[in-house]
Symmetry: C2
Subunit: 167 residues, 2 copies
DNA sequence: GTTGTTGCAAATTTTTTGCACCCAC
DNA sequence: GTGGGTGCAAAAAATTTGCAACAAC
């Protein structure tokens, strides 16, 4: 057990709040109540979300803890800039996920249930770097999304197609 | 020389016009002047484009060959459905590229000049399929975008930082 | 007290839709 | 002739911005 903050799978030396504070200070920005609420809320659990979901969830908070729509958008941008969140766009809307204290990974995207499943592959990193090297391209990151149908939706589909399940 | 239609790098058995016609007919849709103009325009050369660029280019056509904004959007969707175009979203807006008679590939995205560079990797396909197989995921496609700074922009940056180039 | 921040409303950007007229079949 | 298509204007969806009141430093 270290004294670090455990964020799902990796021990890191400071909490998202602390790290965000550092970031804000480094830019002469302020640590406000709204920013704190947002960071708390976002790092409460590890999942994928979009701005609208976050706004909806925040609206449920007790009075006085509300954060307005523009502030949510503004703060999400700051969280991406600070390296705490990662943004990817999935068919029009932006989707966010933790990018601090969480290992590099990629996604399987089920086009039926819209779920995102994470996976890791060191081979992919190597492949990526090899490709970039060949073009003298200076890599800063990558995003791989494999789309298709997840196991669960596959079996549901099958079931629906079996005679007994037809209406 | 085959009698096929050459589309950049692969010989295919019918032109985009023909293939789109087939698609439309199979759906009881009609082959209109506007759809023809759009397909011609889009497959004239192989590059990446977004709806706005296309609309702007079409506006330059001689009077009588104009296509309205809603029709461009509607037809782009049909072209994606027909398998002639592929859509990917790059920071908010949708970007299109040929997907017919063109080999599967992925992209390096330069975040400075916003250019997309294509590359092919069979290893990536294998890796993708292996990952999916492990999760019983039925793959229909994937999208890998490696982001970073291209060779040209890298050298420009360097130059700008050299003493002689400072104002 | 100064300067950055918030919330509101309104603007922007990108894409979609309702509807009357039009044209491919 | 009829049903799908087009253009127009307007709506929708997602995100950003101007500004006056406000709060962190």
């Amino acid at each position: 057990m270290s004294s670090g903050f455990s964020l799902g799978s990796v021990e890191v030396s400071s909490s998202p709040q602390e790290r965000f504070a550092e970031f804000l200070q480094s830019r002469g920005k302020r640590i406000t109540q709204q920013r704190r609420i947002l960071v708390d809320h976002v790092f409460e659990r590890h999942d994928h979300f979009d701005a609208e979901e976050l706004i909806l969830n925040l609206a449920r908070l007790p009075e006085g803890n509300k954060v307005s729509r523009p502030t949510v958008y503004r703060t999400l941008n700051e969280l991406v800039d600070s390296g705490l969140l990662r943004r990817m766009s999935l068919g029009g809307r932006a989707v966010y996920e933790h990018d601090y204290g969480y290992p590099q990974h990629d996604h399987l995207h089920c086009t039926i249930c819209d779920e995102l499943f994470e996976f890791q592959s060191t081979e992919l990193q190597e492949l990526r770097d090899a490709v970039a090297r060949e073009s003298n391209f200076h890599v800063t990151g990558h995003r791989l999304i494999i789309s298709g149908i997840c196991a669960e939706c596959s079996s549901k589909r099958h079931r629906r197609q079996s005679p007994l399940d037809l209406i």
